[in-house]
């Protein structure tokens, strides 16, 4: 592996920086599509950046009893999601960090970020903070195994949990149709809706206290802390979108050592993300938010679909 090589390192850094800087644009695009679909006049594509700048420039209003954990959590969460954005395959499979963390580690990394945001939600000790933390962990404990099983299905196909190998197998060997991925795809869509605080589980634009999950947890944050958390949320959306594209539409990702392919892959990725973002906005517009007590059912269905995906792989595709 080319873990130590200088070009690899440079490419990795460039990809990381690009992912971190461009992720809010994806959120902006989804919001724009949503506004169009709902017959509203849309905010600009750059609106998330304006919000972030505004928040960064505001002062932080901190509760009297905020602990150091509360103040450090936004940085940890942001760091975790930035790393996740770095290791999820986007344009190429030949990046040094790919060997450092595989699919299971990626899920672990997302879980680590979730743990910190839930703990931060509980830190001030308000009713909404703990409520949000509890609901977030509820979504988490059902969504996380489902996500892991989706990745496991792909791992069983490619005989590897390394994300790079998975994408290479799915994209570059001769085209094979994997029926199990149909199940996995449905499960993954359900999981990523839940994980990114989207309708039907949560609503990213709600401020009605009793229905929210993510917003309730971060209610006490302000200023640069809130900016980092919002940015991390965009990164999470980006990570999930890229993961979905890598698993279900891996075509166009550059092969190992293919520098021209890398250049081609970037616009391809942009187009795929744009389509994916539009579909997300469409799903959100077409569905209604669920009662929170229906959420376990929704997620358990996703979980069992992921299990079925694994089963179908073992049964139909011969292990």
């Amino acid at each position: 592996m080319s873990a130590g090589s200088i070009p690899g390192l440079v490419a990795q850094l460039a990809v990381l920086a690009a992912a971190v800087l461009l992720a809010p644009m994806l959120s902006g695009w989804v919001n724009q599509c949503r506004a169009w679909l709902q017959n509203r006049s849309a905010p600009g594509l750059l609106q998330p950046y304006r919000v972030l700048t505004k928040l960064f420039n505001k002062e932080v209003v901190l509760a009297h009893n905020a602990s150091p954990l509360f103040r450090s959590a936004p940085y940890v969460i942001f760091g975790c999601l930035a790393l996740a954005a770095a290791i999820v395959p986007k344009v190429g499979t030949d990046l040094p960090l790919n060997a450092a963390a595989d699919a299971i580690a990626l899920v672990g990394l997302l879980a680590l970020a979730r743990l910190f945001i839930a703990l931060a939600g509980m830190d001030i000790g308000t009713a909404f903070g703990t409520l949000g933390a509890r609901r977030e962990m509820l979504v988490g404990f059902l969504a996380e195994p489902a996500l892991l099983m989706v990745l496991f299905t792909a791992s069983l196909i490619s005989h590897s949990t390394s994300l790079a190998t998975i994408v290479q197998t799915l994209a570059h060997r001769e085209l094979v149709i994997y029926p199990s991925m149909a199940f996995a795809g449905v499960a993954f869509t359900m999981v990523s809706l839940a994980e990114n605080a989207r309708i039907p589980i949560d609503n990213p634009s709600t401020h009605l206290e009793l229905t929210m999950i993510h917003e309730a947890m971060v209610l006490e944050y302000s200023g640069r802390h809130l900016a980092l958390i919002e940015w991390a949320a965009s990164l999470k959306l980006f990570v999930y979108s890229c993961m979905g594209l890598a698993l279900f539409f891996p075509f166009g990702v550059a092969e190992r050592g293919d520098w021209v392919g890398l250049l081609v892959a970037m616009p391809v990725l942009a187009v795929k993300l744009a389509v994916g973002g539009f579909l997300l906005a469409l799903i959100e517009t077409l569905s209604a938010k669920m009662r929170i007590f229906r959420a376990p059912e929704f997620l358990a269905t996703a979980f069992l679909l992921a299990v079925l995906a694994m089963l179908v792989h073992v049964l139909l595709e011969g292990g």
Partner: protein, 220 residues
């Protein structure tokens, strides 16, 4: 090209069929249930046509067309009409625990595959591994009929069971003779009609199509 991907596509159709069976098992609304049933018919029709094309057995085109006419157009139409007449469009089943039902479904899938394994090894066809899926969707439809209490979903369960059987026939042995197929299709159609009349009778008697009311007919 298609020769190469044909079997894989059939596997894909089989998986989608199974997925739709699970979706039907967990769907609460009658309208969506009918749409899912129509989608299942469409998948069946496509896979039959594909098998026909792959094996060059022209009579299978006939049965594909029959499937299309009967299961995608006629039966859903009849069912829609039935619902309009019975005025149960917004009926919602009270399914208590969807995850538990799915778990039972998963167990059934495993069972079905192991039961189908020896048979599918005998079958020399390219698509023999789909036999397990066909059996699984038969069992799932059966399960659906057991867990429902309203009459219309039970009929849909019955019809979708036939879908599973039909898929087994095309997948494992490249279809049955045309006469048998026509007979079965007619059976299903007549069955659906009789069940429709039956439902009207239930409603006349009990003001609802909840089959739990039939318990009242028990002699004490």
């Amino acid at each position: 090209m298609l020769q190469h991907y044909g079997p894989q596509l059939i596997n894909l159709f089989a998986a989608v069929l199974l997925l739709l069976s699970f979706a039907m098992l967990t769907q609460r609304r009658i309208m969506s249930l009918i749409n899912l049933f129509a989608a299942q018919g469409l998948v069946l029709c496509l896979s039959t046509a594909l098998v026909a094309w792959l094996t060059g057995q022209t009579h299978l085109y006939g049965s594909a067309a029959l499937t299309l006419a009967l299961k995608v157009v006629a039966l859903p139409w009849i069912l829609h009409m039935l619902i309009r007449r019975l005025n149960v469009k917004w009926d919602v089943e009270t399914l208590i625990n969807i995850p538990t039902m799915m778990l039972v479904g998963i167990v059934l899938v495993i069972l079905a595959f192991n039961l189908a394994l020896p048979i599918s090894q005998l079958a020399g066809t390219v698509t023999r591994s789909t036999l397990g899926i066909a059996l699984a969707s038969v069992l799932l439809s059966f399960l659906m009929m057991i867990t429902r209490s309203k009459a219309v979903p039970q009929v849909i369960g019955f019809l979708s069971m036939e879908n599973g059987l039909f898929f087994a026939a095309t997948g494992a042995v490249y279809g049955m003779p045309m006469v048998v197929e026509l007979g079965v299709a007619l059976d299903v159609l007549v069955g659906a009609l009789i069940l429709g009349i039956f439902m009207f009778q239930i409603r006349e008697r009990f003001d609802s199509v909840d089959t739990r009311h039939l318990e009242k007919l028990k002699e004490h």
